[in-house]
Structure formats: structure tokens, C-alpha cells
């Protein structure tokens, strides 16, 4: 286990564990509220933000975060106003943002920029600063879920009754989407823009095969997410494959096993 003595791997492991915890909490709500496409939209939109950050010479994570939060708020807004179909709005904006990113990077010939890392993740790029951001983001998410878990469940199950209980459903939608954008930016470092949606969908989908109780599903999601992330990280090292892709493939294999066993 000399691997554990490498600083980059220690950071990846800590980052992976924090990611697993927050993503599995979101995963349940993303799956039951059918927000998977919103997750894809947010992560892809972040790519435009990354490109803008690179050109402006600011930390791409910050510009990506701003882009992601803006699209997340926009998604929450369109879903409430119903002027434009949510899926159509996401489809338009994420394609635009990806196109913007590609155009900017090509136009300014920034060949020194490792686009590959942003698209598919690179654990060796996780810095000490990133870990601090991950920890703060995880703490914010945990506090939110500890205080508002019940409200979120009721909103997912029965939004009209949630409203009749005096729960501010609209505000919760905005906060939820903003926090989702924040954790997606966390995840991009690890698995990249393209693969991050697997982190959002796999944990709860796998866990749902074992229970119909949301408490158990969320508990199992955390476990499932930890298992495939940590296993994927180790496998990526020993098989000499990219970490993001290996983690996602490990998770997908777990999903396939679960559903093959069930059918």
C-alpha cells in the first residue's frame, strides 16, 4: 500500500470520500425529482465558465462555479414559471456554454490548457486548496440536509402539501439547485464535466434496488458511492487508467450487477 503514502493519492482519497458523501445525499433527490438532466446541464455549462476563467486569468473553478450557479438558478426559475420547458432550456444553455468554451479556447489558442482534465477529471490536479473548498462545501451541504432533510423529502413527495405546511418550496428549489451546482464543481475536478452525472445518478439508483424506504436508500447510497469511488481510485492506479473513467465504470458495473441479480 505504498500508494497511500503519495500525497496526490491521499488528496484524491479524501476528496473522493467527501464527494461520495455529498453526491449520494443529492443523488436521492436528483433521481426521485427526475433532475438527472439538470445535473448534466449544470456540469456542461460549467465548461463555458472554465474557458472564460482561463481567458480572464482567474481560477477556472471560480468562473465555473459562477456559470454553474447561474444555470442552476435559471433551471429552478424555468421549472417554476413554466414559460419554457425545463428540458429544452437546459438543452439550449448547456450546448451554448460548451460551444462558448470550445470557441474561446480555440480562438485564443490556449494549447497549454489541459482541456482533457476538465472534461474527464484528473485526480493529480487536486490541490490542498481544493480540499479546503471540498470540506467547506461538504460542511454547508451537511448543515443544509441536517436542518431541512424532512422539508426536502416532503417537497419531493408532495410539493403542494409541503406548501400547505408553510414550507417555502420556491426558496428550497433555489437553494437546492445552487448547492447542487456547488457540488458539481467539486466533482468536476475528480471525474470531469462529462462523467459527473454518473455520480449523481448511480448511488441512489443502485440503492433503490435494495429498499423502498427513503431513509435506507439514502444510507445505502452513501455506502454504494463510497465503495465505487474508493475502489475506482485504487483500480485506476493499478490498471493505469484515468481515475474519473475508472470510478464511473466501477459504479456502472455495480449498477449492472445489482440489476442483473434483481431481474
Amino acid at each position: 500500500m505504498e500508494l497511500l503514502s503519495y500525497t496526490f493519492f491521499q488528496r484524491a482519497l479524501i476528496g473522493g470520500i467527501l464527494l461520495s458523501i455529498v453526491f449520494s445525499l443529492f443523488s436521492f433527490f436528483v433521481v426521485v425529482r427526475k433532475l438527472s438532466f439538470a445535473g448534466v446541464g449544470i456540469s456542461h455549462t460549467a465548461f463555458g465558465g472554465i474557458a472564460v476563467g482561463i481567458i480572464l486569468g482567474i481560477d477556472p473553478s471560480i468562473s465555473a462555479l459562477i456559470f454553474a450557479i447561474l444555470i442552476a438558478i435559471f433551471i429552478a426559475y424555468t421549472s417554476q414559471k413554466r414559460k419554457l420547458h425545463e428540458d429544452a432550456a437546459i438543452g439550449i444553455f448547456f450546448s451554448f456554454s460548451m460551444a462558448l468554451g470550445i470557441a474561446i479556447i480555440s480562438r485564443f489558442h490556449r494549447t497549454n490548457v489541459d482541456i482533457w482534465s476538465f472534461l474527464f477529471g484528473n485526480i493529480t490536479t487536486i490541490t490542498h486548496g481544493d480540499l479546503i473548498f471540498f470540506s467547506v462545501a461538504t460542511a454547508i451541504v451537511l448543515v443544509y440536509f441536517i436542518f431541512f432533510f424532512g422539508d426536502l423529502v416532503l417537497i419531493g413527495f408532495d410539493p403542494e402539501v409541503a406548501q400547505s405546511y408553510g414550507i417555502n418550496v420556491r426558496l428550497h428549489n433555489y437553494v437546492f439547485m445552487t448547492l447542487l451546482a456547488m457540488v458539481i464543481i467539486m466533482g468536476i475536478k475528480m471525474v470531469g464535466v462529462i462523467l459527473i452525472s454518473a455520480f449523481l445518478v448511480l448511488p441512489a439508483t443502485i440503492a433503490s434496488a435494495f429498499s423502498k424506504s427513503f431513509i435506507k436508500i439514502i444510507g445505502l447510497s452513501v455506502l454504494v458511492s463510497l465503495v465505487f469511488t474508493v475502489a475506482g481510485l485504487f483500480l485506476s492506479y493499478y490498471l493505469d487508467m484515468p481515475s474519473g473513467a475508472t470510478i464511473v465504470m466501477t459504479g456502472t458495473a455495480l449498477f449492472a450487477l445489482t440489476y442483473l441479480k434483481g431481474s
Binding site: L154, F157, E160, Q163, Y165, G166, S213
Partner: protein, 250 residues
């Protein structure tokens, strides 16, 4: 004190009257049915009572405004079947526990008393044996009973039910009505129920109100509620069955 008192209630949407000068009152422990055609403003009336629709006029629930009544947990609202996610992964017990949300502390962890109230509510609707079953696997009638149990668990004083028997077969409807009658006997709960189909108003209802933008009738489901009045409310042919007597069709 009246359970619900509505005075001069008017609701407009895009300049159009949805409800116009509606006045009605519901006594404590009454079963009150609101009938009328689709689009007649019945759901809007319920949504006004829980304060999620802007309105003109006065609404009081045990003397409190809708907002205050919601805050105090006096009302429990069961919407029509459509907006809810019936495939949501939750056990029957978990669904009923949602009714305790407002009674829990800042960190929503169920106490011993919360758990007891959930079990008691389930037994009141005869669903205690199903507590560990997935909610999504129940029949429509059973799901409605579980949702009533959730309302009971919230310890609300007024239950607002919007088209509660939609999609239930005749037998399930009977079970549902019997359960409501039992509930009224065992507790001091007030039940307000909305239905577009006047044929479903059975013998146990104390008061019926006929609503089509305005209130056309407000009283016991008896002789005054005649075919002429119903034609006025529904604006066409009506086939009715009230108190087991067929009043005929035109």
C-alpha cells in the same frame, strides 16, 4: 367558535372571477362537502383556506388567518391525486411520519411520541398492518387512507380533502366514507371535502355547499337541494343521487 368562516371571498385570476363573494361557515366536527362542476372554483376555495392563493375577503380558521392557521398546524390539506409523486420510494410509516414534520424540533429527528402518534394514526385508518409496505405498492384507496393518516398524525383540527375518491372503485369509496365517519366519531376533527360529482355525496355529510364561481347552496343535503338548483349550478343535465334517493335526470 366556527371551524372555518369565509366572508365575501373573491378570487380573481388574470382579471377573471374564479370565486365571487363566497360566504360559508363550517362548524367544528362537521363533515362538509363542496360540490360543483369542474372549473367551478372548488380547489381554489381550498387553496385559499390554506393561504396559498391570493384572495379578497376574510377567511378564519378557528379565529386565525390562513397563514397563522398553517403555522399553528391547524389545517391539513390533501390535494387531488395528480400533483403528487405516487412512485416516491417511501414506506407507509415514512409517509405518515411526514405529517409530524411541523411538530419536530429544528433538527427533524422523530421522538418516541412522534413514532407513537404515527402508529396510532395508522391504526385509526386501519392501515397499521401495512406500515412497512412501500407506499407505491398500495391500491389507490389504501394510499388515500395513508394520506389521511398523515393528516391525522399532524394533529390538524381541520382536514381539507380535494376530490379524495377520484380513481377509487365503488367498494373502496364506501370503505373510505365509512372510515371518515368513524374518524369524526372518534375525534373532534372537522372534514371539508370537495367533489365535482354530486352523486358521491352520501348520507353521512352534514352540510353541502354547491359552488360554481358563486355559492348556490349552503345547507343540509335535503329537499332544498333540488334538481332545478343543481341544473343552475352544473349548467346542464344532472343525474343525482342524494341520501340514497334518485332524483332523476333531465
Amino acid at each position: 367558535m366556527k371551524a372555518i368562516e369565509v366572508k365575501h371571498l373573491t378570487v380573481k385570476r388574470n382579471g377573471k372571477f374564479i370565486l365571487e363573494n363566497v360566504n360559508l361557515s363550517v362548524e367544528k366536527n362537521q363533515i362538509f362537502a363542496i360540490c360543483g362542476p369542474n372549473g367551478g372554483g372548488k380547489t381554489t376555495l381550498l387553496r385559499s383556506i390554506i393561504g396559498i392563493v391570493p384572495y379578497e375577503g376574510t377567511i378564519k380558521i378557528f379565529g386565525f388567518s390562513p397563514r397563522e392557521a398553517v403555522k399553528r398546524g391547524l389545517i391539513s390539506y390533501l390535494p387531488q391525486r395528480s400533483p403528487m409523486d405516487y412512485t416516491f420510494p417511501a414506506t407507509v410509516y415514512e409517509v405518515v411520519m411526514m405529517g409530524r414534520l411541523k411538530k419536530m424540533g429544528i433538527i427533524k429527528i422523530p421522538s418516541h411520541s412522534d413514532r407513537e402518534k404515527v402508529l396510532k394514526s395508522l391504526s385509526m385508518v386501519a392501515m397499521d398492518e401495512f406500515k412497512d409496505r412501500p407506499f407505491s405498492a398500495l391500491s389507490g384507496g389504501q394510499q388515500q387512507r395513508v394520506l389521511i393518516a398523515r393528516a391525522l398524525a399532524s394533529e390538524a383540527k381541520v382536514l381539507l380533502l380535494d376530490e379524495p375518491i377520484t380513481g377509487l372503485d365503488i367498494q373502496a369509496q364506501q370503505v373510505f366514507y365509512t372510515m371518515l365517519t368513524e374518524l369524526r366519531k372518534k375525534t373532534d376533527i372537522t372534514i371539508v371535502m370537495v367533489s365535482h360529482d354530486i352523486g358521491v355525496v352520501p348520507a353521512f355529510v352534514d352540510v353541502v355547499a354547491c359552488l360554481n364561481r358563486e355559492l348556490f347552496y349552503h345547507g343540509a343535503p335535503s329537499k332544498e337541494l333540488n334538481i332545478e338548483l343543481l341544473k343552475k349550478v352544473y349548467g346542464g343535465d344532472v343525474g343525482i343521487l342524494i341520501h340514497g334517493h334518485h332524483h332523476g335526470t333531465t
